[in-house]
């Protein structure tokens, strides 16, 4: 039950974040909104990391630098999410984002790109993808 609530809350927060960023962008501009929310999020994360005694920046020296820049995509992700929500609404924006996300992850795992172990895909994954594409088409009509 707690797990279910946590997962539902996560979905709620992810959607809320997109909506809140869109609302803030309307007030102060999209780049300003992205910078401001990432800055306060960063401060919150540092405080929580300290609280959990889990702030170990030295460990970051062990990772390949390329993987460390993943977070930098956030600028484009936030700008894109806000632009998409402004143009097509929250539902269609969320749907296409999920489709792109699951679709590329599917390809990466299937082909074994970027050092990810190759995973066999069954008919269920192909069928699931097809249903998602059909759903998005139905939504955008």
């Amino acid at each position: 039950m707690k797990g279910l609530l946590a997962a539902l809350a996560a979905g709620f927060f992810i959607t809320l974040q997109g909506v809140a960023n869109t609302s803030i962008s309307g007030a102060i501009g999209t780049w300003q909104a992205a910078a401001l929310t990432q800055l306060t999020g960063f401060i919150g994360a540092v405080l929580l990391a300290l609280l959990m005694k889990d702030l170990k920046p030295r460990r970051l020296l062990e990772i390949k630098p390329i993987y460390g820049i993943g977070g930098a995509f956030a600028a484009i992700i936030i700008f894109g999410t806000v632009t998409a929500i402004q143009h097509v609404g929250v539902t269609l924006a969320t749907s296409l984002t999920l489709l792109g996300q699951l679709g590329l992850t599917f390809l990466i795992e299937w082909k074994g790109w970027l050092g990810v172990p190759k995973t066999k895909m069954g008919p269920a994954q192909v069928a699931g993808m097809a249903m998602m594409v059909a759903g998005v088409i139905l939504l955008s009509l």
């Binding site: 797990g3 279910l4 996560a10 992810i14 959607t15 974040q17 909506v19 960023n21 869109t22 609302s23 803030i24 007030a27 102060i28 501009g29 780049w31 300003q32 910078a35 401001l36 929310t37 990432q38 800055l39 306060t40 999020g41 960063f42 401060i43 919150g44 994360a45 540092v46 170990k56 460990r59 062990e62 990772i63 993987y67 820049i69 993943g70 977070g71 995509f73 956030a74 600028a75 484009i76 894109g80 999410t81 632009t83 998409a84 143009h87 097509v88 609404g89 929250v90 269609l92 749907s95 999920l98 996300q101 795992e109 995973t119 699931g128 249903m131 998602m132 594409v133 759903g135 139905l138």
Partner: protein, 160 residues
Amino acid sequence: MVGLAWALGVGLLLSLQNLFNYKVDQKAGMWTTTTLILAMGFSSSFLLGLGFKGANMFRLEGVEIWHGFSGLIGVGIVTCIVQGIKRLGPTYAISIVLCAQLAFAMLWDSLGLFGLQRVPLEPAKVAGVLLLVAGILVFKLGARGSHESRSDDANTEQMA
């Protein structure tokens, strides 16, 4: 068309970001990783904003208190996803997260809260979302060639 292209592009970037973040997470632990992600997110947003908007990045009129707090939503997302995965396992937890995202998105559109334009709920739209939810469940819960892969971690640090 612009909106559709951006939404799809964001999905592709999220997929890559989740993969990169996962690799950092394996070595550095959850909170160090989350902190790095947000530091990177701030730097890139600030620098790009400076490039596109110049000194306007420093104009703070129009900022309200809640804008600052909204950055903490990302921390809430990470916490909830980690708790969900701990209790339900990655496959079920992420499936629920994805479906909840869609359900709340539809709710938001139909209510038009937060000054967003209201997008009325039509039967075709509801059918589209249901088809998407079914697709996600079939994709996530359907049998795979080999055992569960790490795609189930997709989203763990999404937009944190």
